[in-house]
Amino acid sequence: MRNFIDRRLNPKDKSLSNRQRFLSRARDELRRIVTDQIKTGKIADIDADHVVPMPARGTAEPAFRPAAGSGRRAHVLPGNKEFVTGDRLPKPPGGAGGGAGREGAGDGGDSEDDFRFVLSREELLDLFFDDLELPDLVKLDLKEIVSFRMRRAGYAVTGAPTNINVGRTMRNSFGRRLALGRPRQAQLDAVAAEIAALEAEAEPTAEAVERLAALKQELDRLVRKRKLVAYVDPVDVRFNRLEQQPVPNANAVMFCLMDVSGSMGEREKDLAKRFFVLLHLFLKRRYERIEIVFIRHTHEAQEVDEETFFHSPQSGGTIVSTALEEMQRIITERYPSGSWNIYAAQASDGDNAANDSQRCVALLDQELMRLCQYYAYVEIIDERESHIFQSAENGTALWQSYRLVAETWSNFQMTRIARPGDIYPVFRKLFSRQAAG
């Protein structure tokens, strides 16, 4: 009466679609949580696993439940040490459910449930991409972890018909035919012609008859041999062997430049951070190792760590060229452009000291743009002002000057962003170039 069944090889993840349904239901809430985490987390950590609290809104499961602590209840508890009938014990403050520890958390009054779960990289990026308005193809491409390229790697005796290597196959065939002595067509034709000639004679001599018989035998032998030794035999066939090879990885360094003077508020910094995160994701796809350098500037620039970069305020004027000089100094010191791909992203609200913009242009034009693979400049503007700045001609002094750079250098990108959806277009060029190459 027993029956053992080994189910270990049955498909697991039976609950996967339930999980997806749950995530889609909690999407808005999860997005808020993820956005918060991105604000506070590190740029490079974005696509690691994220632990998020279970969102209660939208996923509450209501039922008719007794309210915790209401009415008159009696509990039986184990472990009496000193109580006798009639003792009165003060209730703990805050009405904490009493000694019986009844579950009172089901009320749904809390904003977040008290347990957390892990979002996979894929699920997390989905949420992160949500309001960035990326095209689907780009999303897919960014989520893909490693890309491979097919590379020729010698020959194989098996493969798909489309991969037959004709030259190699024919060379094998030729050698085999030579070695096994396959009669050529010309040989055959010659014998046939001689037979025809002999047969055409009206009165063949005995010699000729004998010769004819020999020739016919010879022809028969040749034909049989040709049948036995094929022109192309399966053993000759060779296929091109293709190997999947990861696309070559190299080192890249990403410079994040940001104006941290008083005019950059929380909103501006958040937008800038999303911009940096997205650039980092793009770069991560192409390079195995990416270093990030943070340079902040007011009227003077300094290299700082990520925490300071985003969170510590500093006061002072605004001189953009100091940051560019700092970047140039770091490149010469640590990242020789021969062995590093250099990417730079600059975020600013467009303020600059009166005559500094000219100097920035000169620096970029003569020095930095030659070293950089790509330079992206985003100007973060107020949403209310976005209609004023619709045309590229208007703008701050810095914007006007940078436009000169953009005209000369094709790898210089600039745009204004007022909301998260504006960020992606900055990358369009970077990405399309990659798709072509």
Binding site: R2, F4, S15, A67, A74, V76, N80, F83, G99, A100
Partner: protein, 511 residues
């Protein structure tokens, strides 16, 4: 499988298992269970699964087949995280009340644990499922898997036809009412897939047959038309079989707005709720029975030299952590551990039968000193649920052992009151209070359909009989009421009434 020369009788040696050791051990356990303990079980089907599959099974309330719903995904996310972080060990086993009885064994378990699980689930739980009167009367073990298959595919087809969102809305609402979706006093009919299909076909056939486009063109009925219209509440109630405690049943049969497929989904949820109702009423007994059986069988195996000391120690270590009962002031305490209480009570029955004290003879004249503890236990397992079991068998000796006391908690009082303790005056009070706390019927809010005027404004009135002043959690209550309104389609109100008839609260869900 090497066997040590010194112990030829050992069933297994070391912690690795394979199918030979599993079968051999199963046979040995079966011999003890059937011949020695006189258990009566369904045929067993033991399935080996991985821990991921165990997590999957967990999140769909333990059923091998379950329809898709986001709430199972939520449960899964939680369990998985807790498991990965090590906060939560997975259960070593999962057993399904079906015929054949399906037991899941996890591949990570050691051989000693597999033996323990086999005795615990495949014989302990299995015997209980087959013999306890609640399960015999209320669930149909041979039909449940077929029915789940039917429910799963039916809901999947509805999703294809009507869209996931529409099905989800109905399921959300039905899940909210699951606790109010069981018959507590009336026995449900037996399940049969064939009959089920037949019923659906009839339902659709009837609708097609009686459909007539002409009805649409009739002018609306005048208000003063009906002498046959039941005006008063009593007559209406009689027509609808009111009051009705099973809200899901009532809505399925009488909701003015539901489509046939929506009614069918309500029915599926209701059947599942009904299926699990006995399990909720017998937690202590069910786990106690299984624990007692595995403890007895494992010790017998050891006594007969069939398992080694190492294996027995491993089993005892696991056993004692399962039956651990923290005291009320321990941070780990949440409530009575059903394993601990059930196991202790069953051991106590064994003691009363074999070595009774004078006190036991007073309290349990029927079984004290009878010597046949097996028969006493089999009788108790078959004929009780938690509430009656505690009320019948909790002995003063055990109350003293657990040092039980009753704590009364009145909302407006600033103090708890110790009402009774484990002394001569308190035994009966302690026992009655503990028994009552296991009475699912008494602890669940009593909510019934009081009135529904189908021919008038179609207002659905629910009545909650408030016991001991325990009201409902407000936000959850209102959200649930909105679900009821969605299923009913018209206004719904809920009135809380205390036993004296006075209204405690009143709330409604109106559009």
């Amino acid at each position: 499988m090497k066997e040590r020369a010194g112990n030829p009788g050992l069933l297994f040696d070391g912690s690795d298992w394979n199918f030979q050791t599993l079968s051999r051990t199963y046979d040995a356990i079966e011999a003890i269970a059937l011949d020695d303990l006189k258990l009566d079980v369904y045929p067993n089907q033991l399935e080996i699964i991985s821990s991921e599959q165990m997590l999957d099974a967990y999140s769909s309330i333990g059923m091998p087949l379950m329809y898709r719903h986001w709430s199972f995904g939520k449960r899964f996310a939680r369990e998985q995280h807790l498991y990965r972080k090590g906060y939560l060990g997975l259960a070593y086993e999962l057993v399904i009340n079906s015929n054949p009885c399906i037991t899941y064994l996890m591949e990570e378990n050691t051989m000693a644990m597999q033996a323990l699980v086999t005795a615990h689930a495949a014989f302990g739980h299995n015997h209980f499922f087959k013999n306890n009167y609640l399960f015999r009367q209320w669930t149909d073990a041979s039909a449940i898997l077929d029915y789940m298959e039917f429910g799963k595919s039916y809901i999947a087809r509805c999703e294809e036809k009507h869209g996931i969102a529409a099905v989800e809305a109905i399921l959300d609402a039905a899940h909210a009412l699951m606790d109010q979706g069981v018959f507590r006093y009336r026995r449900p009919p037996r399940l049969s897939v064939a009959a089920e299909r037949e019923r659906i076909r009839d339902r659709l056939d009837y609708e097609e047959r009686t459909f007539s486009d002409l009805w649409r063109t009739l002018p609306a009925a005048k208000d003063d038309d009906g002498p046959d219209r039941p005006d008063d509440e009593i007559e209406r109630g009689r027509a609808l079989n009111l009051p009705e405690e099973n809200l899901l049943y009532f809505l399925e049969k009488n909701s003015p707005v539901l489509e046939p497929w929506q009614r069918e989904i309500l029915r599926i949820v209701r059947v599942i709720a009904q299926y699990f109702y006995p399990q909720r009423q017998t937690k202590v007994m069910n786990e106690g029975c299984a624990t007692f059986v595995h403890y007895t069988i494992m010790n017998t195996l050891f006594d007969r030299g069939m398992i080694g000391e190492g294996a027995l120690l491993e089993i005892l270590q696991s056993h004692s952590s399962v039956v651990f009962q923290p005291t009320f002031d321990d941070p780990r305490f949440s409530s009575f551990n059903p394993y601990a209480l059930g196991f202790a009570m069953m051991q106590d029955i064994e003691r009363i039968c074999t070595a009774p004290t004078a006190e036991d003879r007073d309290w349990f004249p029927d079984i004290a000193g009878s010597g046949d503890w097996r028969a006493a236990l089999i009788d108790a397992w078959a004929n009780h649920r938690d509430e009656s079991f505690v009320l019948q068998y909790l002995s003063p000796a055990l109350m003293r052992k657990f040092r039980m006391f009753v704590l009364e908690d009145e909302t407006h009082d600033t103090h708890y009151k110790v009402a009774s303790i484990h002394d001569e005056r308190g035994y009966r009070k302690v026992r009655a209070t503990l028994a009552r706390s296991y009475d699912v019927g008494a602890n669940q809010p009593d909510i019934q359909v009081a009135d529904a005027d189908l021919l008038g404004d179609r207002h659905l009135r629910l009545r909650h009989t408030v016991q001991d002043g325990v009201v409902l959690a407000a936000s959850s209550r209102d959200a649930t009421l909105r679900h009821v309104r969605q299923l009913w389609g018209y206004d719904v109100s809920l009135v809380g009434v205390d036993p004296a008839g006075a209204t405690v609260y009143e709330t409604s869900a109106v559009e």
